[in-house]
Amino acid sequence: LFSKKQSEYDFFDEIEETLIMADVGVETSLAIINQFKTYLNDNKIHDPEKLKNYFKQSLLDMIPHVHYELKENQLNILFILGVNGVGKTTSIGKLAHLMKAEGKSVMIAACDTFRAAAVNQITAWGERADVPVVKLEMGSDPGAVLHNALDSAIANKVDLLLVDTAGRLHNKENLMAEIEKLHRIILKKASDSHHETLLVLDAGTGQNAFVQAQTFHKSIKIDGTILTKLDSTSKGGIVIALAHQLKLPVKYVGLGEGIMDLVPFDKEDYVNSLF
């Protein structure tokens, strides 16, 4: 039979293991646990039965709840960034379908002009979602595609323009410079649009996801993230690290490879999934 004190230690060991194995990361996990220990001591809470619920609540309080909303009567732009293979192109296909189903007019800019068959892939998704894709052939300047897409979106009074970009590692300076250049085109050409930048992160990535968010954010203000592949057995603990250290919200979650497999982030569902 455990004594009260011992139960508390077991609880903290268990929490440390849960958080670390969920890819919350060492620094964030230890910080959260220490803050929680202080809270318990300050409030003289020692009932092992209550610990878990208090802890869940502390996680919920820490996670920002920000929904993505289109602004009426203006062009909305989502600039989609991320490292290679995380699910940018697929997420854009899903978003296009989601917004079209809400009665919005959507357009896609195929600004990955680099990777083999990237234009074919986003074109296929555009067909599935039944939205137009503005593109040029592989090897063209992504800025030229963006210019064309912005012209067309503005002329056609499109509600939402989704901009697909090539995967790029955040530690490659020239590739980060390219993304800054694309962003400046949006700022210049569509200054009165409601534009946001979303970073796509793969739930199966380890602590490097945090470095990705920090580094991309240095180049361009990141308004939120899309967390993909949460249908895998990974827990996507990056959500907690991003909330705790950067106050960065997750706006959508990818739950599969089909066009319907994208949902707005729900923090209650998420925290429950950790335990």
């Binding site: 293991e17 670390i20 194995m21 969920a22 890819d23 990361g25 060492v26 620094e27 490292v83 290679n84 293979g85 995380v86 699910g87 680099f114 990777r115 083999a116 068959a117 074919n120 892939q121 074109t123 296929a124 998704w125 599935r128 592989m138 590692l169 955040h170 530690n171 490659k172 793969d202 199966g204 990535t205 380890g206 602590q207 490097n208 996801a209 470095v211 592949k229 249908d231 895998s232 057995t233 990974s234 827990k235 490879e257």
Partner: protein, 291 residues
């Protein structure tokens, strides 16, 4: 050759006027945290540290002049030893057509890696790339473009053919056209997707690959242990390829995968171009994981 965090650990432990058991305990905790920060799996780290403690506090250390450095050395050497002390070679048939099958999670770099493998081996063999991913939009186009860029053969079957049929027909086609090596690109899949895992088992039965290579992102997190165990259990993989090694990830997944499966890491992907592909060197990853 240990830098960064380990240097810091050594320096701080050296500063102690004499090494007490609690200093060593702190040193061990620091090393545990360093490995966890490198994305090595939690359970792998626990086991690894226990083994190091047994080895480091055995006979050898008592006789040594600097127990701390001995301890660090045990960790470093054990890491290299675990990662495999030599480059694991690809196994090919002596006669007949050799077959390589790449498998892994979605987006890990399989398609690109098939082209890289083909490009790496084409000087000694006629290579045929097989596009057996019928799920992802434009997957076959992607492999075809890469094959043309590298001047490799390409077979993608009919639009209505399923992956198993494509693989079987590819072998026939390879025989007809005198190819020595067939490299099969498969669709990304979750290890918990029973239908798709069974599909791979069927493909394995049908084409009897000489190599089944699990392609993993070098920045994979804690869960890669569960993923690769299941792939290994179902397919008995013959080796691993780690991609996106050109990122700044510490790459602890390498140690987790090796400890979990015992299978060797054969190659690493170091960029998006077809020649960004190298033989795996265990000592390089050891230094990187230790930070």
């Amino acid at each position: 050759n240990i830098t960064g965090r380990f240097d810091k650990i050594i320096k701080s432990l050296r500063r102690q006027s004499r090494l007490s058991e609690s200093n060593i305990k702190d040193g061990i905790r620091e090393i545990k945290l360093a490995l966890l920060e490198a994305d090595v799996n939690y359970k792998v780290v626990k086991e690894f540290i226990q083994e190091v403690e047994q080895e480091a506090f055995g006979e050898k250390v008592i006789k040594s002049v600097t127990p701390v450095e001995q301890f660090i050395k045990v960790v470093h050497d054990k890491l290299i030893d675990v990662m495999g002390s030599h480059n694991a070679e690809l196994q090919f048939k002596k006669t007949g057509i050799s077959v390589i099958l790449t498998v892994g999670l979605q987006g890990s770099g399989k398609t690109t890696t098939c082209a890289k493998l083909g490009y790496y081996l084409k000087d000694n063999k006629r290579v045929l790339l097989v596009g057996a991913d019928t799920y992802r939009p434009a997957a076959k186009d992607q492999l075809r473009v890469l094959a043309e860029q590298c001047d490799l053969g390409i077979f993608t079957g009919g639009d209505k053919d399923n992956p198993l049929k494509i693989c079987k027909q590819a072998l026939k086609y390879a025989k007809e056209k005198d190819y020595h090596l067939v490299i099969i690109d498969s669709a990304g899949r979750l290890q918990i997707d029973d239908t798709l895992m069974k599909e791979l088992v069927q493909i394995k039965k049908a084409v009897e690959p000489d190599e089944i290579l699990f392609v993993s992102d070098a920045m994979a997190g804690q869960n890669i242990v569960d993923v690769v165990s299941e792939f290994d259990k179902r397919l008995d993989i013959s080796g691993i390829i780690l991609t996106k090694f050109d990122s700044d990830t510490r790459g602890g997944a390498a140690l987790s995968i090796k400890r979990t499966t015992g299978k060797s890491i054969k190659f690493i992907g170091t960029g998006e171009k077809v020649d960004n592909f190298e033989l795996f060197h265990p000592d390089r990853i050891a230094g990187r994981i230790l930070g």
